[in-house]
Amino acid sequence: MTILTVALKYLRGRFVASALTSLSVALGVSLVVASVLLSRGIRQGFIEGTTDYSLLVGAKGSPTQLVLNVVFRMDVPTPNISYITYRELRDDPRVEVAVPVAMGDAYQGYRYVATTGGYFAAFPWRRKTFAISEGRFFRDDPPEQPAYEAVLGADAARRTGLRVGDRFHEGEEMAEYPMTVVGILRSTNSADDRAIFFSLASYWEMNEVSRKMKVKPLTALLVRPKRMSDLAGLHRGFNVAAETQAVFPSAVLLNIFNVLSLVDEVVAIILAFVVLLVLLYLFVSMYSATLQRKREIATMRALGARGATILGIVLLESCALAVIGGALGIAGGHGVAYLGASILAGRGGPVANLFVVGALEPVVFGSVVALGALAGLLPAVLAYRTEVAENLAPLS
């Protein structure tokens, strides 16, 4: 009989206590794994879901609101800017591409994004590509002759059930301006999957305020300069102006990451205490088990078992509890993270694929086993030092 078999028999002998100890280790590990996966997934979701355009121009206000609304379809739109701003920027010799965007209402929570065909255009510098899975793109119809054609992001189409040819509107006041679905986009793994796109002409005509305006309104402009080194000049120009602001989307996201880093640090401290508690629980469990079976250990020693064998059995017991708890915890942590990511994604939050194979799982598993060995060390030494004569004395 090997010492592993003996250790496992001991664990089976006190099944309920062993199961509860493993469960507590599993819960602690789940908490650590789920926190790390979700934090990483949210950060990566922002990185993967951001725009390819380096500069975003909008009305004066919060840069974070501008980026979250225009790029990630969160928050409410910033105030309008004038179409003249777009014309000036389009004609600026420093600018390669400027794409106008107007954010408005929503259908079943899926945001309307009015823009031009340029939004979907492919360029060598763009990572994101748009392709139609069904139907076609909407036409850039001339002002005052809107076609009310809509193209739906993949998620928006799937969740609303709208198909090509369907007509839709939301709210009584929009009944006069039903949109017709002419196309559905392939998934882009970004907020564009949850958007409903149509032309600026349709947007201006279906809105009572903009219908009366001679100079039409926009929410923002996505800008790509011919030379990246001109970005700073363009940025400064819009920010010293009275009505506009320009932001680097990545700068805003980096500021969000700074805040997330603070949260991560607080969570790390809490998790450190959780790990300490689990470690203590494992130690107490092993310690009390060793105290309870001092007589058995003395018997084993009397029958010829060496001290090192006894030490090994207790250490193996502790490691086995850690292995079972660690494996269950890693699996449970992934489950919790998956559930959290699904809830977050359902609410329109950016979250990337959490299940990329990385160093996290082996590092966590190795650490749990090492901590299990550490927790079992003192009880193992106690067992090793068990006095045979003292503990084999007749029970009074």
Partner: protein, 163 residues
């Protein structure tokens, strides 16, 4: 805020070889040196080209023109964010295109000077994604730089830039 930015700008004149946390010395190039090296037709001097492929250190403000993991960004003599500071934004001659394939794990602050170290390249180059550039750093690593050096009475004068 503006005063601290100006103070940080002033550090660009205080250059020489610098000891880095990476453990070895690397020549530090200043934006003044980069500008001085520019010749007609978007060319640079042979002296500047002699640094090509070598590890150098450049201090500047980060403009996050690329992805938010900072795998690409611009390093500029002047911050793009301070709207009311001493200088207007600079152009191609005082902008270094920085490529950091592993990204940069820093707490980003638009008004802070960072020291960036990587393999230097001088001369015109067109990148399919980030376009035309004159100065580049490849495989770059980023650290926060000390904002300004304080000279006490009796200290030796600041070392001259390494030309």
């Amino acid at each position: 805020m503006a005063a601290s930015l100006c103070l940080a700008c002033a550090t660009f004149g205080l250059t020489a070889y610098s000891q880095l946390a990476y453990g070895e010395e690397a020549p530090r190039l200043t934006f003044a040196q980069l500008v001085d090296s520019i010749r007609a037709n978007f060319e640079v001097t042979q002296t500047m080209k002699s640094y090509n492929g070598k590890e150098v250190e450049i201090h500047g403000f980060i403009i996050p023109a690329g992805p938010p993991d900072l795998s690409f960004f611009l390093l500029s003599r002047v911050s793009a964010m301070g709207n009311y500071c001493c200088e207007v934004p600079v152009g191609q001659d005082e902008t270094v295109y920085v490529y950091a394939p592993k990204g940069a794990k820093i707490l980003y602050d638009p008004l802070r000077v960072y020291k960036v170290r990587g393999a230097f390249e001088a001369g015109p180059h067109t990148d399919p994604i980030y376009g035309v550039s004159l100065f580049r750093l490849r495989n770059a690593r980023v650290e926060e730089a000390i904002g300004a050096k304080i000279f006490k009475p009796g200290d030796p004068p600041a070392p001259t830039p390494n030309k």
